[in-house]
């Protein structure tokens, strides 16, 4: 069980800011994205623009294998605009 956090455009499309999700301990970042899109199909429109932050480290959507622990934070990160 991981905590998924939504920000900016992704929070608008998903309609919420946070939820818990049950996922396999080991999966690729793309597979994790696909699980999230199943819950919130409108997120598919931003697939090309987002990355994840897993335990506060950026991860691109792709083949990278993630090893998740219960309670880990996974954040959906749309293109940033600080400063």
């Amino acid at each position: 069980q991981v905590a998924v956090l939504y920000f900016a455009r992704s929070a608008e499309l998903a309609g919420l800011r946070a939820e818990t999700l049950s996922v396999p301990r080991r999966l690729t970042s793309l597979q994790l994205w696909e699980e999230i899109v199943k819950l919130h199909p409108r997120l598919a429109t931003i697939q090309d623009q987002v990355v994840f932050a897993v335990r506060q480290e950026y991860v691109l959507l792709g083949d990278q294998l993630l090893v998740l622990h219960p309670g880990d934070e996974v954040a959906i990160i749309p293109p940033i605009s600080g400063g």
Partner: protein
């Protein structure tokens, strides 16, 4: 009087209240430093012909603070003489002309603090999870920094 050098400090704050240039400069002032360099990011009132009413910022706060700490660490590696660094970023609603970000760096001589401030704002725009929404009269838009390393740059 303590003969050891002043301990270099990083002052990082994300807050919804109005930012203060005086407060941020005073944080970094040091008797060992002859230079304090400052960057202030303010909000423009127009974008592509549309009138901007105000800005709204949100952040992944815990990660934003961690990323800013990494920037401070990188600054100190590149410019070891840098004394103090302060980065204050505003969150929530920011009216036009008010500051969204203030960065101040002190160093004994001016070259390092000037370069360090530039590096801070450029790297902040590329890596810190903060988002800006521009509110216009009839619509709004989530902005995207061109520095963002994963954004689709063909748009």
């Amino acid at each position: 009087m303590d003969e050891s050098e002043e301990v270099p400090k990083d002052f990082i704050k994300l807050k919804s209240e109005k930012l203060s240039v005086d407060e941020v400069s005073e944080l970094v002032i040091s008797p060992y430093c002859g230079a304090v360099s400052l960057f202030i990011g303010t909000t423009r009132n127009n974008f592509e012909g549309k009138k901007v009413i105000h800005l709204e910022y949100e952040a992944y706060t815990s990660m934003a603070e961690t990323e800013i700490k990494k920037i401070c660490r990188d600054v100190r590696q590149k410019w070891p003489s840098v004394q103090h660094i302060a980065v204050h970023h505003r969150l929530g609603l920011v009216p036009i002309t008010e500051a969204s970000v203030i960065i101040a760096v002190s160093s004994p001589h001016r070259a390092e603090s000037l370069e360090a401030v530039r590096f801070c704002i450029n790297t902040l725009k590329a890596s810190v999870p903060i988002w800006k929404k521009e509110i216009y009269e009839d619509e709004y838009s989530w902005k995207e920094n061109k520095e963002c390393f994963w954004a689709n740059s063909e748009k």
